[in-house]
Symmetry: C2
Subunit: 310 residues, 2 copies
């Protein structure tokens, strides 16, 4: 079956036609600057129609960058963005616009499904995937199925596990979340609060992970300390995931993985020294599919447990 895949990000959306392990066609659009999810859906309709007419698809898989209740095909929380999203019936939209069934999933969960289907987690059953980027995604798969829980929120908030007793407030409302301590959006605030920041090499540049790792490589002391802080946060989040969900493999994706050479060996050592796994060692591996993961993830999405309401 060919499936129309939508990966809705913060500023861009990618629509694609996928089949098995292949992306047959794709279009990326810049999203309208709007608080309205209805407007965003309108903007998606055009590329979807083109892709659908090129080769008839049998379903739509929708990846959303927020909390979803996939069993009821509802957006549960948008973290402040798209105030109208929780009231929109996506199944109705898909049926009316394309006469297709639709399944909705959180984008980080779709990325794990994609890596499970065609990437770094193929053949695995118990995996946790972190996506280190503007935010931190953290998703659990147990026994080949996404963990869901009573309100579809289990095993999908790996970036929002508190790892620090700091009073740094996260966008989710929590304190000391991994995402509030070491993500793309949090880094400027963490850096500016760091002792000695004003005279560091990083203060001369735009504060992002690429520049942070470059300055740390150049032996800038504050940058080195900030990298150590971020590594420790990601290490603690990894231990939290292992001690919670008992995976055999951690997969790391997201833009920050451009610095995988500095990150993965640290994580591997950290979980060996700190996770409680008398059965053996958790493996640590880079994701393989990049932005394709969430698009390809719609294929196994239709093989996971069915929604309660379609």
């Amino acid at each position: 079956m060919k499936i129309l895949a939508i990966d809705l990000g913060g500023t861009h959306a990618t629509c694609a036609l996928v089949e098995d392990r292949e992306i047959l066609a794709r279009e990326t659009i810049l999203l309208p600057e709007s608080e309205s999810f209805a407007n965003t859906l309108s903007a998606l309709a055009e590329p979807l129609t083109r892709l659908h007419s090129s080769a008839l698809a049998g379903a739509i898989g929708f990846g959303f960058c927020g909390l979803v209740d996939s069993r009821h095909t509802r957006i549960a929380d948008t973290n402040g963005k798209y105030t109208d999203a929780v009231s929109i019936d996506l199944s109705h939209w898909a049926k009316e616009k394309f006469s297709l069934p639709l399944r909705l999933e959180n984008d980080a969960r779709l990325a794990l499904l994609g890596e499970f289907h065609a990437g770094a987690a193929q053949g695995e059953t118990d995996v946790f995937m972190f996506t280190l980027g503007t935010g931190i995604g953290g998703v659990a798969m147990m026994n080949g199925q996404l963990l869901r829980g009573k309100h579809d929120q289990a095993g999908v908030l790996g970036g929002h596990i508190p790892v620090s007793l700091s009073n740094r407030r996260c966008t989710c409302g929590g304190l000391g979340c991994a995402e509030a301590e070491a993500s793309g959006w949090a880094l400027p605030g963490v850096a500016k609060d760091w002792p000695g920041f004003a005279s560091s090499a990083l203060a001369q540049r735009k504060i992002n992970f690429e520049n942070l790792f470059a300055c740390a490589d150049g032996n800038d002391k504050v940058s080195r300390e900030l990298v150590d802080h971020c590594l420790r946060v990601w290490g603690a989040a990894a231990v939290a995931a292992i001690n919670s969900f008992d995976p055999e493999l951690l997969v790391y994706g997201g833009g920050v993985m451009k610095s995988a050479d500095a990150i993965l060996p640290y994580i591997q050592n950290y979980v060996r020294d700190n996770a409680w796994t008398p059965w053996g060692a958790v493996r640590v591996r880079a994701a393989q599919l990049g932005n394709d993961a969430a698009l390809l993830g719609v294929v196994p999405l239709f093989e996971q447990e069915s929604p309660v309401v379609r």
Copy 2:
């Protein structure tokens, strides 16, 4: 069916004969000071034989204070105690000694099963239970079943989720675990490191939670700060559990709950303010069964998923 229940603690063990929601008889023994689990089993045989002869039991439920692989009826890790325990075949022991089938479970999991069967979690399906005592137990039930995972270690290490970036080493090997920051065994170390401790009221007493809460009630500044620290640690651990396992109810047991009046309202407020639950509010409740919980937990234990090997 009557069941012989064993709750093996650090210094004492309680053996009991249980049926449905009732403890028909019990004996508590002081354990021999021995590193040998074989010796401990010998010490248990006598009270078990007495209980068994008083009214024939149909099975044995064994609660162990360490990591177990209940699906294979094996002790997985004893955290340094009982060096021979991982090599002992408990099913064989039960069959030879009592001609009874045996199921093994972690003691914190049994306590949750007990509260689920006959206490504070009756009628619930998605619950997380913390046991605040010498250590911190933290156990997840999802959809009426204990969460288990690939190596039977999922959802059972709620005390060993890192909540602090401190370098405080836990007995599990990890850094900054909730248990290493705010448990009975950790409290003396945390207190002695606290600025101003030497001149505090607490320094004049044995350092335990009872004295800590008493000194804090007496407005001792350091004790007040230490209580705040512990509450924050327990609050962060609660958020970690909620954002990981999506429960509707948190249940709190263990000896520290003598100060429930100071703890439960804090936790209720903390999770309301910090956990990401757009569906509603997680309830917080005290356990009801005390030390009976783990004994009564053997009843539903025999209704949970079967072990792979008996």
